[in-house]
Each structure stands twice: as C-alpha cells, then as structure tokens.
C-alpha cells in the first residue's frame, strides 16, 4: 500500500519538487526535536535548580567566551538557548496544532451544516463568518483572549491560559475552514450520489459525514496547513505581546519577548535564535502548504 501511495499523483508531485522535500525534511527535524525535547535537549531550562547565574549571557559558538555545552549561548538567567528553543518549539507547535484542529472541527461542522441545510441557516452562518473574516485573525484572537482573561478570576488565569489561547486562536481561524467546506458541500450536495442517498432515506448527518466529507477533504488540508502556519504565528505574536502563554511555559514567542530587552545591550542571540527557529518552522509549514495547494489543484496539472 505504501508503494501505491508513493506512486500516486500526489507523491509524484512531491518527488518532483525539491522545495517540498526540503520543507518536509526541515519540518520533520523540527517536529522530532520538539517532540523529544525532554530527552534530546542538552539541558533542561525549566529546572530552576540547575541554573546558575554564573552561566548567564554566554554568547553562541564563534564568539569570545563561548562554550560547547551551550551551542547557542545562554540568557540572562543562565538558561541554555538551544534547549529553551526545543522546549519552546514543543509548546508553539502543540498550541498551533491544537488550535488548528479546533478551528477545523468547528469550521467543518459549520461548513457542512451551512452547505447542506442551505436557506436561512446558510445565510446566517455565512454572514457571521464573513463579518468575522473582515477582522484580521490576530485581532479576533487578541480580543477573545483579552475578554476571557478579564472575565476569569485572578487565581485561575495562569492554569487555564493555555486553553484560552488555543480557544482564541481556534475561534479566529474557523471561518476559513467553514467557507471552503460550505462551498464544496454546496457543489457535492447537488451531485447524484447524494440525491441517491437521500432517496434511500439515509439520515442527513450520515450523508454529510460519510459521503460529503471525504470529498471536501482536499481543500481542507490545504487550508489546514496554511492555518497551522497562521496559528503558530498568532500564538507567537500573542506571547510576544504579553497576552499569550504564561512565563512558566515559554513558547518561542515568549522567548523572543524575553530577549527583546537585551537587544541594545548586545546580547542579541537570546532573541534572534528563537526567532530564526520560529521562521524556519513557519517557512517549512508554508512551503508544504504551497506545494499541497499546487498539487491538489486540478487546473494546474
């Protein structure tokens, strides 16, 4: 079966595209590094006991005072930048994936419903999506985040913050999925196989899930990859602004924010390396998304 998959149109296009393969490779490396951070990272930046202020502000390899045990240098508290990046990537990636997943589920659900039910349901749902789409997603995420955080009592905030962020980013991304799925559902809904199923008496939800859904997966995947890129950037931005994850679970964005303070005093590596890691991650995701979009586009074949 793997051979068959390798032989398919999609895989063919993949093999022909050096950028897609490079992107996949980078993404894989980053994902593995993130996933296995607790085992792979040279140090554990979370372990306060192991930190020593004597180690602080060591520069990366290539500059004076560098040290092989801290390849990319250390920050103001002696935390190893490389390890912090790996742990941070873990959080950035998880939040990104979870929020995209959330947006996907909500978006697909709404899209299927709107496309299949038609009429007023469709009109209302799509109006809501349209209105939300006129606002940039970062703003929606920020406002949702701000409102919920303000509404929560002080004590709960830190613990629940990560879920609030996932929810906020997810909410900002669902319309993209909804609109595409709705469009495809409208097309599929009028096709013969759906009519046939309705005539037989298959319940609507069944038709939507087992017949229509598999046919709309293609564009959904493309949006999902691009959405993942947006989600990761959104989380990083929110964390950078200080309304994202709490400092106890620093994501790449939080790390960048920490480092920003030291730009002018010359310790640029604290902010630049996490920044580069973020860019690499999103770049890989976007390249894959671009390639996927071109590969799945029947018009360009």
């Amino acid at each position: 079966m793997l051979a068959h998959a390798w032989d398919s149109d999609l895989a063919y296009s993949f093999r022909r595209s050096p950028s897609a393969m490079l992107a996949a490779f980078i993404a894989l490396v980053l994902a593995v590094g993130a996933l296995f951070a607790p085992w792979l990272a040279p140090h554990n930046p979370m372990d306060v006991a192991s930190l020593s202020l004597l180690d602080s502000f060591k520069p990366p390899i290539g500059m004076d005072g560098a040290d092989w045990s801290n390849l990319l240098g250390t920050d103001n508290q002696g935390r190893d930048v490389l390890s912090a990046i790996m742990y941070g990537m873990r959080i950035s990636l998880s939040v990104g994936l979870l929020s995209t997943l959330f947006a996907m589920v909500v978006g697909i659900g709404v899209g299927l419903l709107a496309g299949y039910a038609g009429g007023t349901t469709d009109a209302v749902l799509m109006r809501v999506a349209d209105i939300q789409l006129t606002f940039p997603s970062i703003l929606t995420a920020l406002l949702v985040d701000g409102v919920i955080t303000a509404a929560l009592p002080q004590t709960l905030r830190d613990a629940v913050q990560i879920y609030v962020i996932i929810f906020a980013i997810g909410i900002s991304l669902w319309p993209n999925f909804a609109r595409t799925v709705r469009g495809s559902t409208l097309v599929e809904r009028n096709k013969d196989y759906v009519m046939a199923a309705r005539v037989i008496g298959v319940p609507s939800w069944r038709i939507m899930l087992s017949h229509v859904l598999p046919n709309v997966i293609g564009p959904v995947l493309v949006i999902a990859t691009l959405g993942l890129g947006l989600a990761v950037i959104a989380e990083a931005t929110l964390s950078f602004l200080g309304v994202g994850l709490p400092p106890t679970q620093p994501s790449l964005g939080t790390l960048i924010r920490f480092g920003d303070d030291y730009l002018f005093s010359g310790q640029w590596w604290v902010t630049v390396f996490p920044g580069l890691a973020l860019v690499l991650l999103v770049l890989a995701i976007n390249l894959l998304g671009d390639w996927l979009r071109d590969a799945l586009n029947p018009k360009l074949r």
Binding site: I131, T134, F135, P136, I138, L139, L142, L143, D145, G146, V147, T149, A150, A151, G229, I233, A236, T237, F240, L241, G242, V243, G253, I256, D260, L263, F264, G266, W268, T271, V272, G275, L278, V279, V282, L283, I285, N286, L287, D290
Partner: protein, 323 residues
C-alpha cells in the same frame, strides 16, 4: 446607484448594532467597574452612590440605550488604567496609527503590484524565483520578529535609524499631529512602515500573481493573442485591468487589517498609536477602552467595506447594469 449605497448602509446597521451590543455587554458585565473606580477604603454609601451615578441600577435596556447614546457623542467612558476619558485617549493616538497605516499601505501597493505582475507574466525566470522566495519569507516571518530584526540591523548595529517613538511631531488643526513634516518624524516612520507593510506587500504580490495567472488563461486573452495584439497591450492593458478589479477589493479590506495589525508593530517600536493602547488595555483589563475599540473597529470596517463596494462598482461595468 443610490439604491446600491442605500442597501449597503442598511446592511451595515445590524452589524453595528450587534457589535454595539457586544461592546456594551463587555462594558457592563465583565469586570467590576465599581470596585475598580472606588478607593480601597470606601463606605457602603459611597458604593451605592457610585452605582447610582454610573447608572448601574437602571434596567438593562436603559443602560444599553444610554451607552449607545453616549457612544454616538464620542463619550466612551473613562479608562480604568489611565483615568482619562477614552474618547480623548483615542483621538490622541489616532493620527499616529493612521499615518503609519497609510505609509505602509502605499509602500505595499507600490512594490507588491509590479512584483506580482512580473512574476505572473514571467513565471520561470531567476528574478521571479527570487521574488517568490522573498514573498514566502514575508508570509512566514511574523511582524514582530521582522521589526526586531530591523531594529537590530538598522538601530543597534548600524545606528542609522531610530528604534522607537515617532520623532518630533507637528500639530495640525484641533487635534491632528503629523510626523510627516519633520525629518526625525520621517526617519522614525521608515522602519515601522516597512515592518507593517511587508506582510501586506507579500500578500498583494501573491494575489496579483495568482490573478494574473488566472486571467492569462482566459478565453479573451487567448482571443486577444489570436488577433495579434502586442504583449504589452495584452499584459498591461487587458490582463492588468482584469487583475486589478479583485485585487483592489482585497486591498481595501486589507487596509482595515493594516490598521488593526499595526498593534504589533506599534508594540515593537513603541509607536504611540491606537494599537499600543489596545494591547496595554488588554493586559490591564481596561474594559472601557476595549469596548470603545471594538465599536470603532466595527465602524471603520463598515466604512471600508462600503468604500470598496463603491470602488468595485466604479471599476466593473457589469455591476452598473441593473436589469
């Protein structure tokens, strides 16, 4: 044509009302204005008096109506954090944000459109690939990171450009301040404008390119070629005109995005605009500012949508025929 505008305005009203309602709900129910505004040691009598003053003892709809009325007059209440009227805070910050947004948009359009046209026409040249890579980086690079890198390069290492603030500003009219009139104002504008504009520029470039590719595949372009029209006429006459129509719409919508997006850039460069105000009010749960911001954004977007619709109407003759 007026029927067209009229119907659009009518559609806008429910949107504004809904947003107004959400803003109000925020204002009234999230957080507790009473305890925030009162000093630590207050008496019950003072508390009751404040509730009466703020009108919090009135029924819901009366409060809502009052809220709307006040908003229409530009009175959005008092900021929790800064204890200043929200209205004047916003007025103070508005010019900064608008000037930044306009500069960034102009930059993005002026560079993005030609790049998009070029990569649409010449799909496989070296320059095309360079542009596409730049655009990919532009989409993958978060705005704040770009800002930081620019600051690092141009302010810290090269020392050419300032890294925060707006420089010296000149007052115009009753409340407008402009940074365009002074060199320091202009110099301070450069890095933030590039930061804010880059994302838009790459978006525009990709959009123009995608549209160009679509248009170049149409039958009427094929027919234009079959009639022996020159490449120049085909690309910059027929193709470009058809490409720009959807591009303008999206750009118009994007402008609203720039204004809102500026909040990140303003944070990085400490640019005293509305974005920075919003971020600060989110971190400090300053509800009046948040709710005022919400209403304003809705208004801005409605206006921009209307403007774009009008523009579309002016450019595409097919929309003018109402049979």
């Amino acid at each position: 044509m007026f029927g067209f505008i009229g119907s659009r305005l009518l559609q806008a009203i429910p949107v504004l009302l809904v947003v107004g309602f959400i803003s109000f709900a925020l204002f009234a129910y999230v957080g507790d204005p009473v305890s925030i505004l009162l000093p630590q040691d207050h008496t019950e009598a003072q508390r009751l008096q404040l509730i009466k003053d703020l009108g919090l003892d009135q029924p819901f709809f009366v409060q809502y109506a009052h809220f709307l009325w006040m908003s229409l007059h530009g009175n959005f209440g008092i900021s929790y954090r800064l204890a200043q009227p929200v209205g004047s805070l916003i007025a103070e910050r508005l010019p900064a944000t608008l000037e930044l947004a306009v500069t960034a948009s102009v930059l993005a359009f002026a560079i993005g459109v030609p790049m998009g046209v070029y990569t649409g026409i010449h799909r496989n040249t070296v320059l095309s690939r360079v542009f596409m890579t730049v655009s990919l980086t532009g989409v993958s690079l978060p705005t704040f990171l770009l800002g930081i890198l620019l600051i690092l390069t141009f302010s810290v290492w090269l020392g050419w450009l300032p890294s925060f603030g707006r420089g010296t500003v000149v007052h115009l009219g009753r409340w407008w301040t402009t940074g365009f009139a002074t060199t320091s104002g202009l110099r301070s504008l450069i890095l933030p404008a590039i930061t804010l504009g880059l994302f838009q520029m790459t978006l525009i470039m990709r959009l123009v390119r995608a549209e160009m590719l679509e248009v170049l595949r149409t039958d009427y372009i094929k027919f234009a070629r079959a009639r022996g029209l020159t490449n120049r006429v085909i690309h910059f006459g027929h193709a470009l005109k058809n490409t720009l129509v959807p591009v303008i719409t999206i750009m118009g919508l994007q402008f609203g995005g720039i204004v809102a997006f500026s909040l990140v850039t303003e944070t990085v460069f400490q640019w005293p605009g509305m974005g920075l105000l919003l971020v600060q009010s989110v971190t400090s749960a300053d509800i009046p500012v948040l709710s005022a911001y919400l209403m304003l954004i809705a208004l801005v977007f409605v206006i921009i949508n209307l403007a774009v619709d009008l523009l579309y109407y002016a450019v595409d003759p097919r929309l003018r025929v109402r049979r």
